[in-house]
Amino acid sequence: MKTQEIKQGIKLHTINTNRFKTNLVAVFLSIPITRENVTFNSVISSVLRRGSKNMPTQEQISKELESMYGASFDCGIDKTGDNHILKFYLESINDRFLPQDSENMLKKTIEKLLEIVFNPLVENGSFKQEYVDQEKNNIQRRIEGKIDNKAKYAIERCTEEMYKGEAYGLYKYGYIEDLEKIDAQNLYKHYQDLIDTCKIDIFVSGKIDEEISNLLEQNENVKNLKPRIPNFVQTGNIEKQKVEEKQVSESMEVTQGKLIIGMDINVKDENQKYKISVYNTLLGGSANSKLFQEVREKASLAYSASSSFIRHKGNIIISCGIEIKNYEKALEIIRKQLEDMKQGNFTDEDLENGKKGIISAIKGIEDEQDTEITYYFGQELSQNEVSVEEYIEKISQVSREDVVNIANSVNINTIYFLKD
């Protein structure tokens, strides 16, 4: 991967690869997430895909993309560390695999995506009223839709409980009561501020024959962007205050109970993240992990029992779907696994195997276009560049002692249970 700063605060990352049939272009806008801006950002992301200056309706955008052999546009919103990330993607087929000699598809893909993100449809100094109204409605439904996937909802709720009153506890789609403050004018104003101050990262992955940086520098939409000292929260070291363990339960119409345990870990430096990754794999990150083996295979209590490491926030989230009456039993088994990890009750083989699993996954990163982009973007946010080779090296160096130390620094923050 090659990174260049096109202007201050605006970076171009190019990944030249011949592994894919497609070109993938991505634009990420990063900004600190706050209660004041979260709902605005969320509506902006939706409004932009409705129309641009040169493709003013969704129908026009769709027709254009269809005739580009089904170039697929996607946009989404993420929370990474304390940042809100607005993500926009456009994927198209590489010229080599198109039936006729058509125009330069990569160039066109880059131009179309930049047009959608940076050159929106503006009427009398504001966004189009109709689009804003419809997208406010759309976001409202999306916020209401939080309850639809019970497993995801439970994880979301546990996170909210852990980060009450803090940036990371905010719901990434925003809040219904804040929608009414939004109109076409103040939303456009908000968009302009966002575009002028946020961190901008542009990724281009594919079989690249030309100078992408020239192409970008000549692009009108890029020319109009101002240099900036990018306003974002560098994700990295995370200090945790020790908190009292908290239990929260909620009732909903569910057949199966969802047990979520949110845990805190201090992240003193980047190196520690490799150790936590290994710890997480042994605890609940694979089919050989303690949670999968004990909760599912031995106790037959669950179909899904796993844990995941939220690397930008220093959390491990355990998640199990269990019969509601087995809550105490499952919790007891999980606590025992945490304790066993503290005591170092795992074999050297477990440790080596866990590391192998992570390494294999890392080696495969370059075989997935979007995963590779996400990998490098994560590093961009933590301002810590690590090649795939270095990453593998760091994982291989993790020792038993490292894992036990991590285990002893893990604290349960919140136990959340969704039942009927």
Partner: protein, 422 residues
């Protein structure tokens, strides 16, 4: 080995039918780190009534055996679990069951051949005991309950129940807690011995392989077995009409979920018809369609519904799934759009634009080793060579599309399934 090459997308597949009746397909990819292998049997949740080769009596087993078998294959006589052994090697192993096939697979970057030893060993050596079968009922029971909480799964199953009178496609792949309670080790062995015969299986590998070399490696790990005769699969006679046109279930969801189903009959021209239906569905309700624009602007739908055509031996249907404030409005709009297309015909420009888009979608399926291999396996059991989609699409014209529209998109064969708040 037979070499099938597709120059348009620079892909090739080597295909060999072994003496024991098993088909092996090798898709070489020089540039990837990842290697992927998938081994499937042409046996899914639809097979609960059949005649074992060489027998005369009909065997009938509880619903959910194929999926139960899939879970239980990993357990070995020496006390190990093959999923653990494979995971320990750093490979990512998994298995799944569909209506018409069951597949075992792993993906890795290193240790491919060590994993191959374990992989081919466990698929060929079942080990079922009363005790390990009982234990699995608890785990599968939780899997069934997990699906019970997925409204998208319920809306799908209800659609099938509304369309099919008897065909087992309408039943849950996992079976129910009641049906799996009747499964024991003898049933599992009987189904294993019947359906896991090499002549009923196919294997696909995709990655940086030399075809001759990997073929030899696979062959030497095969337990000698003779190709069995044909398994007679018995499906109940399924009437062409639907059971009912509307089905509804109450669940706690923020906005109603819906599936529109259109019951169809399998066609000889599988690929051609599949392509035509994909184009038609996008003309009717795709992102650039008038209907989508109307529904979106009225706030009835928030995103594009998924548009699918599912088919295998014995059944075929279209499924359109999404969320809408009022699913009836979507259904009515859908029906009237079809009526108007039948009357006014298809627009040539639109047809060729959407066809370009569909072509792009097919090409993208070759990006990932896993996706490519899974596609070749699933298509193989349907009697399809996956490259046919790339090769035939140019020849699918709008006249044919109009014919399919008239034959398949019949109002009397449509059902609407809704899941909404009480």
């Amino acid at each position: 080995m037979q070499l099938i090459e597709n120059l348009k997308i620079e892909e090739k597949v080597y295909k060999e039918k072994l003496d024991n009746g098993m088909t092996v397909m090798i898709i070489p990819r020089e540039n990837t780190q990842k290697k992927y292998i998938i081994w499937g049997t042409h046996y899914g949740s639809n097979e609960s009534k059949f005649i074992v080769p060489g027998e005369e009596a009909v065997t009938e087993v509880p619903k959910g055996v194929a999926h139960f078998l899939e879970h239980k294959m990993f357990e070995q006589a020496n006390g190990t679990n093959s999923l653990d052994v494979l995971t320990a090697l750093g490979v990512e192993a998994n298995a799944y069951t569909t209506n018409d096939h069951t597949a075992y697979l792993y993906e890795c970057t290193d240790k491919f051949y060590e994993a191959l030893d374990e992989f081919m060993d466990y698929v060929q050596h079942p080990y079922f005991t009363d005790q390990n079968v009982e234990k699995e009922k608890g785990i599968i029971g939780q899997e069934i309950m997990m699906y019970d909480d997925y409204p998208e799964w319920k809306v799908y199953l209800n659609t099938l129940e509304a369309m099919y009178h008897k065909h087992p496609v309408k039943l849950d792949i996992t079976g129910t807690i009641e049906t799996i309670s009747h499964i024991d080790k003898d049933i599992l062995y009987k189904c294993y011995n019947t359906f896991y015969n090499p002549s009923n299986m196919a294997l696909v590998v995709c990655g940086d392989f030399k075809p001759e070399e990997i073929l030899e490696e696979i062959k030497k790990r095969l337990v000698p077995k003779n190709s069995a005769g044909e398994i007679k699969r018995l499906y109940p006679e399924e009437p062409a009409n639907v059971v009912k046109n509307y089905v509804e279930q109450k669940m706690e969801v923020s906005m109603p979920l819906f599936t529109i189903g259109i019951k169809d009959v399998p066609s000889e021209e599988k690929v051609k018809k599949h392509i035509a239906i994909e184009i038609l569905l996008n003309i009717i309700l795709g992102r650039s369609s008038k209907l989508y624009k109307d529904l979106y602007n009225k706030g009835i739908i928030l995103s594009q519904p998924s548009l699918e055509y599912e088919f295998t031996e014995g059944y075929a249907h279209i499924l359109i799934t999404g969320q809408a404030t009022d699913p009836n409005v979507v259904f009515e709009g859908f029906k009237s759009e079809i009526a108007s297309l039948k009357q006014n015909g298809l627009d040539e420009d639109e047809w060729s634009r959407i066809r370009k888009m569909i072509y792009g979608g097919y090409v993208k399926e070759y990006n990932d080793v896993a996706e490519t291999a899974r596609m070749f396996l699933a298509d193989f059991f349907k009697g399809i060579n996956s490259f046919d989609y790339i090769d035939e699409i140019e020849s699918v014209k709008s006249e044919y599309g109009l014919q399919v529209l008239k034959e398949t998109f019949k109002e009397e064969n449509m059902v609407l399934s809704v899941v909404k708040k009480a």
